[in-house]
């Protein structure tokens, strides 16, 4: 693990691991790792970006540490919304639950994005 990685690690202020604050690598916002609804958050509520700190394939910490950009909104079978992130360096994907205090306008913008540029004419579907 590089010293650069350690320097940018989420710094914890709480006693429990992972609860505290982190600085958004994209917009610089200081973010509480606990969302308003009490769940653990991994992404910035303002710009929705995250950081590649967990290895999604093997589990455990990842040495990548690069920025992860939000690429999709998805609805889970439970009906909950999840945010899919993709690492800008290594391409790994992760899924992170949408929090109640996430930027709703950004979420909506992502949700309508595919429909704004469809690979086929949507008019063909008429009354969907």
């Amino acid at each position: 693990m590089s010293s650069d990685h350690l320097a940018h690690q989420h710094h914890t202020t709480g006693a429990a691991f992972g609860i505290g604050t982190f600085t958004c690598v994209r917009c610089g916002l200081t973010v509480s790792a606990k969302s308003a609804d009490g769940t653990r958050r991994n992404h910035c509520p303002s710009c929705l970006h995250s950081r590649h700190v967990l290895d999604q394939i093997e589990g455990g910490p990842s040495e990548c540490g690069a920025r992860m950009s939000p690429i999709a909104i998805a609805v889970l079978r439970t009906g909950d919304w999840t945010l899919v992130h993709r690492c800008v360096r290594c391409g790994e994907l992760s899924s992170d639950p949408v929090c109640g205090d996430d930027n709703q306008l950004m979420l909506m913008r992502m949700a309508v994005r595919p429909l704004a540029d469809p690979p086929f004419p949507l008019e063909a579907f008429g009354s969907l």
Binding site: Q56, I71, L76, L93, M108, L128
Partner: protein
């Protein structure tokens, strides 16, 4: 359904693979979809290899870190979770494994079920809670 032509399409044509197109040979590479039982040919218009069912969009968890490496020991069923748009405008399907929750992003093929794709694209917008809270928070 005809696809819109994109500027960069010529750059991303399907790579030619002799073995898959040899008469009588390619059938050994076909698969039966675990979602809808359709017999699917691996030859797909617009992509180098097909990794999901063109009818129901279901896939199988066979790849590990690199697409096409077929090194995953999981073998679970991967369901379409959502869609993303690449910077060049192309739609990508995001699959999630029902067994291990692993995610993967895959190109759509020219003969993928357009209605299934549009339904997937509409799914987040059909959630009234989220749609209305987004409207309320607009300045």
């Amino acid at each position: 359904m005809p696809r819109r032509t994109r500027r960069e399409q010529h750059r991303r044509n399907q790579r030619h693979k002799d073995v898959l197109h040899t008469a009588g040979r390619h059938r050994a590479h076909d698969f039966r979809c675990v979602g809808c039982r359709l017999d699917v040919s691996l030859v797909a218009p617009g992509t180098a290899h097909r990794n999901h069912c063109p009818n129901c969009l279901t896939s199988l968890h066979v790849d590990h870190r690199i697409p096409g490496d077929r090194a995953a020991g999981c073998g679970g069923r991967m369901e379409p979770l959502g869609l993303t748009v690449r910077t060049d405008g192309e739609w990508m399907l995001i699959h999630q494994c029902l067994t291990c929750a692993r995610l993967s992003a895959n190109r759509i093929a020219g003969d993928d079920n357009a209605l299934a794709l549009v339904r997937l694209a509409l799914r987040p917008l059909q959630d009234r809670r989220v749609a209305s809270s987004a409207l309320l928070s607009m300045p």
